[in-house]
């Protein structure tokens, strides 16, 4: 399994895009920490940027990588290797190098400038989002044969999770504001990994008091060790399910 991954990693870690991505994140996080005196304020600004940038880059990069490796994947298929192994090796290679860039760009500055519970939550969320969105991207690319369409689907998914989904939630909350929706909002937030990550970090920041009654419920639910476990499980499902679907569709696919 690792035989192929090793070489995929060699290849991607030397690509200019990944190096550029790592440097970009590094410049942003270092400048945030330099500009803000207060560490948690800097983390909050960094959080907003991270929640936008990490998913979209993970998605676009994984999609483009998949299509560019199409002929290479074909050649691997002519070797005595199973399809599952090939796709998973590619995934581990791509997601691994995106994670490496994330660690260089965000995790290390956090560990230097503001280590602590919030920082850890940031690192956890960022890594999970990297894995989730590259997994979604693999699913989208395996499903669509055409490169332009694959990238289009990836962008749409990102739009949905980053922008449209929040609109839906607001719509629901406003239209049903007469009913008790607290439990529902917990469920709804699990259906979007970006939201889940955001809530998870916010609750570590003591700003949940600003979020009213729902915030209190969130604090109750996500604040404890159960919340940590819950978030981990949901994030894991967000990684595993699309990847599983990608593998089963890749197994049946004609290349």
């Amino acid at each position: 399994m690792l035989k192929l991954t090793k070489y995929v990693l060699y290849d991607i870690l030397r690509s200019k895009i990944i190096i550029g991505y790592a440097l970009f994140l590094l410049v942003i996080s270092v400048s945030m920490f330099q500009m803000e005196e207060n560490g948690s304020k800097a983390i909050l600004s960094l959080l907003n940027i991270m929640l936008i940038v990490v998913p979209i880059i993970s998605m676009i990069f994984s999609t483009i990588h998949y299509y560019n490796s199409y002929e290479f994947i074909e050649l691997m298929l002519s070797q005595p290797m199973s399809r599952t192994r090939i796709l998973l090796s590619e995934y581990v290679g791509v997601a691994g190098s995106l994670l490496a860039a994330f660690f260089v760009g965000i995790a290390i500055p956090i560990l230097i400038y503001s280590p602590g519970a919030t920082g850890m939550a940031m690192i956890f969320t960022g890594s999970s989002l990297t894995l989730v969105f590259s997994s979604l991207a693999f699913f989208a690319s395996v499903k669509s044969r055409d490169k332009a369409r694959g990238i289009g689907v990836a962008l749409l998914l990102w739009f949905y999770f980053a922008l449209i989904y929040d609109g839906f939630i607001l719509l629901i909350l406003f239209s049903f504001s007469d009913y008790p929706l607290e439990k529902l909002t917990v469920v709804l937030s699990s259906l979007n990994p970006i939201d889940l990550g955001r809530i998870f970090i916010m609750l570590k920041m003591d700003v949940s008091a600003l979020m009213g009654y729902t915030g209190a419920l969130y604090k109750d639910f996500f604040g404890g060790s159960m919340g940590m476990l819950y978030t981990t499980v949901v994030m894991f499902l967000w990684i595993a399910i699309p990847l599983r679907l990608a593998v089963s569709s890749f197994k049946r696919k004609d290349l």
Binding site: K6, Y10, R14, Y70, E71, L75, Q79, P80, M81, L255
Partner: protein, 257 residues
């Protein structure tokens, strides 16, 4: 050695493979010929398990192919288009395949690597290679593990005459080792000294699958190109490709007169 049994494959409306039945044996060098889109590459990919047939079975050494990839360790495949990860080095590609196949160094056939001088470019990254050089890398990879079966998809397209000659010599050498070699090509003159059998595909169907000597006797032609042209002319095939071949051979004939 490889048995293709009533294989059908449809891509949307296009019948890519239509009830293909064929047996390939050790020692054969089979030329797969036919116009563009006649199903040559699809047939090759079906044998390699890259394309899953709608119906029909494929046997390799008597065992049916159904998802277990281990039979492919006996196959060397040279694809039509070789594209490799941009930043991977040539040497790394060879290393990777060796580690995947887990073969002893002594079982490795470095003939083409040496003849194509690929060792000199082991440190170059794939992105910097020209199309022809990448083709040489693909060829060297196909022969690297001394497999029993070689499947070559348009092997000489894009190679310079010298390299193309080296590759042909290598194919003849492997042929003498009693291996099964499947070649798909449009350049019939390249196939002349190699081939023992000819499989002609059209619109996904096997038009004929014959011994070269039978074909030569039937048509009275020695050159493969002319023999095919003669047959297709008799069958009044309407493929443009064949018309083209016929007109060229006729022009050549009249020039000779």
């Amino acid at each position: 050695m490889i048995r293709v049994e009533y294989v059908n494959k449809k891509f949307r409306k296009l019948q890519a493979l239509n009830n293909i039945l064929a047996d390939f044996w050790k020692g054969q060098v089979v030329s797969l010929i036919g116009p563009n889109g006649s199903g040559k590459t699809t047939l090759i990919k079906t044998i390699l398990g890259m394309v899953k047939p709608d119906s029909g079975k494929i046997y390799f050494n008597g065992e049916i192919i159904n998802g277990d990839p281990s039979y492919r360790k006996n196959i060397g495949y040279m694809p039509q288009i070789g594209r490799y990860p941009d930043n991977m080095k040539v040497g790394q590609l060879f290393e990777m395949l060796k580690s995947i196949r887990a073969v002893d160094e002594k079982d490795i056939d470095k003939d083409l690597v040496v003849k194509f001088n690929l060792e000199d470019i082991y440190d170059k990254s794939m992105r910097t290679l020209s199309g022809g050089t990448r083709q040489k890398v693909s060829a060297a990879l196909a022969f690297l593990f001394d497999p029993d079966v070689l499947i070559l998809d348009e092997p000489t397209a894009g190679l310079d005459p010298l390299s193309s000659e080296i590759l042909k010599e290598k194919i003849i050498k492997e042929k003498n080792k009693h291996k099964l070699i499947l070649i798909s090509s449009h350049i019939l003159s390249d196939l002349d000294d190699l081939t023992t059998h000819v499989m002609y595909l059209q619109e996904g169907k096997v038009e004929f699958f014959k011994d070269l000597s039978v074909l030569q006797n039937e048509t009275g032609e020695i050159k493969l190109g002319r023999a095919i042209a003669r047959i297709m002319k008799d069958q009044k095939a309407n493929a443009l490709w064949i018309d083209d071949v016929i007109s060229k051979t006729e022009r050549r004939l009249s020039e000779q007169k």
